[in-house]
Symmetry: C2
């Protein structure tokens, strides 16, 4: 099928660009030093390509992601890098033969792991992002209690989310080092082999983790592309059709239901995006560009890839203008 | 099932509040004077309640919405209030026995209606929102050409989107009148029985249309609730579980993949919402409130209901704390 035959809006993945992104990351983080985060794409079709390169351990954000990955045969080492209060569904995944490790940061989540039948945990440490994670000072004590309760503590994790979008690489490096210093302190108290953390934004500045939890590098978005030395390509775009031309603007049929909007409007090369409404994006021509005509196709660049993928039922994989595959976004929902 | 037994995050609809919202709107816009917009909820379960009150004509934003409504037996008078370049799928819906009217604003969309086999149209008029719609002066000419091409022109539509969130009702009324003046001018040239437009924000200020296209009134969101004299209740919330407590904040398990974010963070009564990440919302206690504990449930209020619904597979309908029904959000996707 040709790209032009697709109904719009449609989430498009450039197969070659995806492969180049995976290869670039593989060069820096080979084998099990990368634990790709599936929340960025929610698609086992992409996870299979990651696993084929040797990145066979995965990071997940939801129970659904764990379940679908395990059912797809990609469950050799799944980390739920998030706190969960009711782990019964996770225990059933363990019973099915997959390996599941879960983050805990409190007595309550420790108890949930025991009650749910998840035997392996990481101690989640707050390394400066005001979100989940126990304090670095309390991590060792929580690990002791976990082991006393019969859990295997594989190590620590700490996500330096507050560092991820610091533009200048030097400053990003300094802040990464501070955060990872906190994680190292906790790790010394906790023990275990794993020190997990990091993301696409700190893929070069964080060399302190034993495994990087990056996800966005595979498909990318305009927010990450702004950063210095984050060279991954835009592999995902949203194909839209121009449906109306106004007095100096054009309207295409992809809007708030096609794009995660927390990082702002999608990008459209050569054009100035004005705003999105539910099923519309409105834009004018940038300097030296001319507006398209009704019926023309445009390919918009998501500002935040993770919630963008969550809005689409499927991704169309293309080689140039030919659709070569179709992947369901099969880890959506909860 | 009890509310506490649901997996979180979960989109919750308060059945009684929904019914009160539908009744309030019915009082002002009885029978066919309301053409509820299904894009706000994307759920035939809600459309059935609207139809049962006599609101049997519906507004849609996508071909998928038209198809699903027709297949659900709700296709007696469906308006696709948006431009479409390829109408073949719509033609098949017409062939199936449903009544479909489509908006056109150009020669290209006129030709698409003819080619696709959609015999009834409205002329979409730009009434001040920079989006779709022909100019008021050109509407009559487009209608003439449509009739010459064999199409039935049922009238005009014009959406005063730029007026929808003007806070003060007096000012909203003035701007609505200006916009509807443009629509009336076009209508005089176009003819036909229908003058369609309006939304939840102009439910009282727009008395010029023959049918109001409101949708958000059924479930509501925090953005519409800010407006003067838009008295609909918050019928939809997202149930989340507190998974972690930090140093002065709490974290619950609903984030960017649970909420349309273009109007900002969701609300949480008594709490100050700091930010959302993919599967988290972080908040602190407001004055006089105390933070919940790990395992507690909270119910967040979407800032924009339309893209929020598009992120959820289903809605759980509750009577107090009892789940009495479950509705698939069956009009998602395209």
């Amino acid at each position: 099928m040709a790209l032009d035959d697709l109904t719009t809006p449609a989430l498009i993945v450039d197969s070659a660009a995806l492969d180049r992104n995976l290869a670039t990351m593989l060069g820096a983080w080979p084998d099990r030093t990368l634990r790709p985060h599936v929340k960025a794409h929610k698609t086992t079709g992409i996870a299979r390509r990651q696993a084929a390169l040797g990145h066979t351990g995965f990071t997940c954000a939801t129970i659904r992601e764990i379940e679908v990955m395990a059912a797809a045969g990609l469950g050799s080492d799944l980390l739920l890098a998030n706190e969960v209060v009711d782990m019964r569904r996770l225990g059933r995944v363990v019973d099915s033969g997959a390996r599941v490790t879960v983050a805990i940061d409190s007595e309550a989540t420790l108890a949930a792991a025991v009650a749910g039948g998840v035997g392996e945990v990481l101690i989640d440490v707050n390394v400066g992002t005001p979100r989940c994670g126990c304090s670095p000072e309390s991590a060792g004590r929580l690990a002791d209690r976990a082991r006393a309760a019969g859990l295997a503590v594989r190590g620590v994790m700490g996500y330096e989310g507050h560092v991820m979008f610091v533009d200048a690489e030097r400053e990003r490096k300094d802040q990464t080092d501070q955060a990872m210093g906190l994680l190292a302190r906790a790790h010394a108290d906790v023990g275990g082999e794993i020190r997990s953390g990091g993301g696409t934004g700190t893929w070069q500045t964080n060399r302190e983790v034993t495994e990087l939890q990056a996800g966005s590098y595979a498909l990318m978005d305009t927010e990450y592309r702004k950063l210095e030395n984050v060279p991954f390509e835009q592999a995902a775009t949203v194909l839209a059709t121009v449906i109306s031309i106004g007095d100096g603007w054009a309207v295409a049929d992809a809007g708030l239901k096609s794009f995660g909007m927390d990082h702002g409007n999608p990008g459209l090369p050569g054009m100035l995006v004005w705003y999105c409404s539910d099923e519309h994006v409105v834009f004018s021509a940038g300097d030296g560009s001319t507006l398209p005509a009704v019926g023309d196709r445009v390919r918009l660049e998501p500002a935040h890839i993770d919630p963008t993928c969550a809005l689409h039922e499927r991704m169309f994989v293309v080689d140039g203008d030919t659709v070569i595959d179709e992947w369901p976004v099969d880890m959506r929902g909860w």
